[in-house]
Symmetry: C2
Subunit: 256 residues, 2 copies
């Protein structure tokens, strides 16, 4: 990881306390992180967010996103933070200090990554977590597992900087077919697959949501490249056409 | 360090923002630290400090001390945090991630340690730093070196817990002669030595303060035990008596 650090985007999902956005930005600045996105900031919270000392530029250029996918943006690797109290997680939890090793094994070829933090009250939902390649737990003691948001960001940024897992410069913007696919293109494929599975009756109403979460996780774990996604998208389009879910060649794959 | 973790006391020197005391307590609770002392808390700050979530007991039992030595208490090993911007530090700065290794080499025999944090505005003074066996710098980037106090405490507690440098239980209270001397008894010896050095004209008015800081550092580095301190105190008492700085057997019982 030393020389091939990632460009990290820190994503805060619906934070309630404007002080925490500023505190997160300051911790980011302390450890050389620059890219902050906030999902659905409550308007008053967003307005109240003041430039934290030394982090004015981060707050100024922070991205207010409507949903998680938009916030994740071009990241091809997504790591979620959780206190590990949810029972329905199927993914193995990695302790924060093990994250650098996990990245060393898994981040080859990736240039942009996102690190997600849930709201102060609820943390990340199972749905949010299903967008993550890895779930990380800060090793807090059992009696007091839940951390303050700004402090959690500080500790994670410290660990990543400590391990040299942060890129010094912005990544090249050219996207190659052999590069890992970003979450947005994976989600397009995923939505297409869900339509097909609905059409063929694979998804049962009662278990649909849970099954989709599992399938998304499975899709993430395949580590698809942009080229893979193009091929898989083509295959699914053809099936959709055969199932008469869409007209061929119209390109309106998305909704029809 | 794994099995012989230290009992850490976190010492905040004159914090200005009550939120930071609560935040420090919460981070401590998250990582299994229990012992908090605050030097000269401004009264309104102290009154306003509210139990942070999960850290009620830490705040309730926190120790408000009049000076640094009182706050350090029975600790025999003292580590100060600094952004490293002071020019007059003579001690080598250790990066936080190197602290566990330093402790592994240096903390043998020690059971209680103190970790000092300066005020939000000024950090620790050179005088405060002269009480420290080691100075630690959180590896922040040059452009934004200064951390929020609560976040700095969180990152340090994380690193110590990560390295297994925190004792699970309170230490035995029995003090043995072969144990490292605590800062208070070292300071008694130091004050006595300063009196002798004043009397013999070693300390020059102009450089007195700076020389004393250096001498205190030297004394700390000797790693004296309780027994050493007793002997050294006796030697100094005898010199004082010879120099007629005090009457024998009067007020010097302590050292004889």
């Amino acid at each position: 990881m030393k020389r091939s650090g990632l460009n990290w985007r820190i994503v805060l999902v619906r934070p309630r306390n404007p002080l925490n956005i500023g505190a997160a930005a300051r911790a980011m600045a302390n450890f050389g992180f620059r890219d902050l996105a906030v999902v659905k900031p409550y308007d008053p919270v967003w307005q109240e967010t003041r430039s934290a000392v030394g982090a004015e530029e981060i707050v100024r250029s922070a991205h207010a996103a409507d949903d998680l996918l938009e916030a994740i943006g071009d990241a091809t690797l997504v790591v979620g933070t959780t206190s590990g109290s949810r029972r329905t997680l199927d993914r193995e939890l990695i302790s924060l200090q093990e994250l650098p090793e996990w990245l060393g094994a898994r981040a080859r070829g990736h240039r942009r990554a996102a690190l997600l933090f849930g709201s102060e009250k609820t943390g990340l939902s199972n749905n949010h977590l299903s967008y993550c390649h890895a779930l990380v737990r800060i090793p807090t003691v059992p009696g007091c597992p839940s951390m303050n948001l700004g402090q959690a960001v500080a500790v994670c940024c410290y660990e990543l900087a400590r391990a040299g897992a942060v890129a010094a410069r912005a990544p090249a913007s050219r996207v190659r077919v052999s590069d890992p696919a970003n979450l947005r293109s994976l989600e397009h494929v995923f939505e297409r697959a869900a339509r097909v599975l609905d059409a063929v009756g694979y998804l049962k109403p009662k278990s649909r949501a849970a099954t989709l979460v599992k399938l998304r996780r499975l899709l993430l774990d395949l580590g698809l490249t942009n080229n893979d996604v193009r091929i898989l998208g083509g295959v699914l389009a053809q099936i959709e056409w055969k199932l008469q879910l869409q007209k061929p060649g119209v390109r309106s794959q998305k909704a029809e």
